[in-house]
Symmetry: C2
Subunit: 310 residues, 2 copies
Amino acid sequence: MPDPIRAALVLPLAALLGAVTPPAPAAEPDAGKPRTMQEIIDAAKPSDWRTPDPANTLYMELESGRVIIELAPAFAPEHVGNIRTFAREGYWNGMAIKRSQDNFVVQWGDPRGEDEDGKPLGSARAKLPAEFSRGSRGLDFHPLPDADGWAAEVGFADGFPAGRDTGEDQAWMAHCYGAVGAGRNLEPDSSDGSELYVVIGQSPRQLDRNITVVGRVIDGMERLSVLPRGSGPLGFYEDPAQYVPIRSITLASELPVAERSPLQVLRTDTPLFDELVEARRNRRDDFYKRPAGHIDLCNVPIPTRMPDPA
Amino acid sequence: MPDPIRAALVLPLAALLGAVTPPAPAAEPDAGKPRTMQEIIDAAKPSDWRTPDPANTLYMELESGRVIIELAPAFAPEHVGNIRTFAREGYWNGMAIKRSQDNFVVQWGDPRGEDEDGKPLGSARAKLPAEFSRGSRGLDFHPLPDADGWAAEVGFADGFPAGRDTGEDQAWMAHCYGAVGAGRNLEPDSSDGSELYVVIGQSPRQLDRNITVVGRVIDGMERLSVLPRGSGPLGFYEDPAQYVPIRSITLASELPVAERSPLQVLRTDTPLFDELVEARRNRRDDFYKRPAGHIDLCNVPIPTRMPDPA
C-alpha cells in the first residue's frame, strides 16, 4: 500500500484550524529549535517502529473496510486467549455491531444475547477471571512526565497507554480513544471476551480498573467512529435492520502474508518517543501562541505507518 | 416534543457495558446511599434548569436535522457579535461542512475560502481581536474539586466548561467534546467567526488559550460526530461532492416561538449540580467496583431536557 505515514494528527499543525488560507510553507529544520512531531517522525529509524505480532492482531472486516486491533496479552492474557479462540473459530463472522453511543462506545457481539438462543462459544471458555489490572512488577512501564488525576502514574507499556500504582502493585490499560474492552454484566468476572466495545469519544477513564481492557484499535478507527448512533437506550440500535454487519474477525496470523496489512506502530519506549511527547507537551509550531507545558495520557498520539512493500 | 431527559449519559450505568443480559431493576432510592446521577436529575426542580437565551442560540439545520449551539458572549463578545450578524444575514445558508477529522474536529465555512472569491461578509466585521481568554474577575466561576493538568483551576462559568488562573487574571472556555471555536490562520487575530469548528473527539485542551472558543453544541452532536471523515490532509473533504450541505444557520430569536426547540440545560452553579459532579466522581451504582474519586472537566456531563410543551 502506498500510504506513507498516516495523515491524522501527524501533519504540521500550523494549518490545523485556520485552513481558510493555506499555511506558510514548513521551515527547514533549525538545529537550535526543537523538532516538530512531523520532523521527529520523519527522522525515525527503522528500529523506532515495531510490527505488531500477527498472532495478537485482529482484522475486523466491515463493508467499509478493515479495522485493525492489537491485543494486549501482557495485560489481559485470559481474555486475549479467549478472543484468539473466538477469532480462529470464526465466532464473530456474520455477527454485527449493535451499539453506537455518541461520545462513548461502539460495541459488537452476538445480537441474540448470551442465553440459550446465543451462538455456541465453541472451544472458547465460558468463564474468565476479571483482568481489570495486573501486577506492576515485570512490566516495562515508560512514564509520562505529567501528573494524572485518575492514576498515581500514567505512561506506556507494551505500546499501550496505561496507568500504574506501584504502591498497590497494579498496572492497567487506560480507556483512551480506541481502547477495546470486554463488556460485562454486574459481576466482575462476567466477561468472556465475546462482547467487545471500542471507545469513540472523550476518554471514559472512570472505567479504568472496572472492566477488562483487551487491546486497542491501531488502524481504521474512522470506520467505527462514524457509525450512526443508536436511538435506543445506551445507543443500542432499536431495529436489527440498523445493525452493522461484521463480515469476519480474523487473526492476522491466520491469513497468508499477502493478505495482511503491513502496518507498523511507533515504539513508545524510545528516546525518539520521549521527544515526540515533549513536542506535544509544548507545541512549537507557529500556530501555537501558548504551549501547554502538559499533556494528558489520552492526548498522546501513537503514530502508525504503512510501509511500501519493498 | 415528547422527549423526556436525553438518554445519552443520563441512564443508569449498570447496563452500560454489559448489556448482554438486561441489568437488574434499579433499586429504590435509599436515604443512606448517595443518589445516582439519574436520581439527581429526576429530583431537579424547575429552578435547577435554565433555558438558553434565544438571542445567543444558533440552529444549524442539516439534512439530518437540527444542531443547537449555545454562544458564550461572556467569553467571546466580539466573536459572538459577529456570529450573530452572520446568522441574521444568512451568511452560512447554503454553505457546507468541509472538514471531518477523526478524533479532532468537524469544520464549516465558505468552501471558496476567504480570498476575493469568497462570499462577502455583509455587515459583519472583517477583523476581530483574539478572544483566547478574558479577565477572571466578574465571572461567576464554579470550580471542580479536582486538579487539572492544563489549568490552574477548572470548573463551570455561565454553564460552560472553563479554566481559570486568578494569578494571571484569566478565564477561558475549555476544548471539551462539543466546544465550538473560531478557525484562524497563524495570526492570533485572524479569525472573524465565519469559519467554525466543533470538537468531536478526545478533548484537545492544548488549544485552550490558543484560539477563540465561541460556544458549545448543546444538542445534536451526533449529527456532526458521525460525518464521514475527509480523506484529504487534516480531514478536509477532497471532493466538493462530499461536502455536507448546511441548509441554514439561524438565531433562535429570529424564529417564531413555535419553531424553536424548547431545550433546557441543567444549571452548573447549583448544589444539585455539585451533587451530580460528586456522583460522577465516585460512581456508586452496582457496575462500578472501584469509584475513581476524580473527574476530568471534560468528563462531566451537562444534562439537557426537552420539556413537554405544557
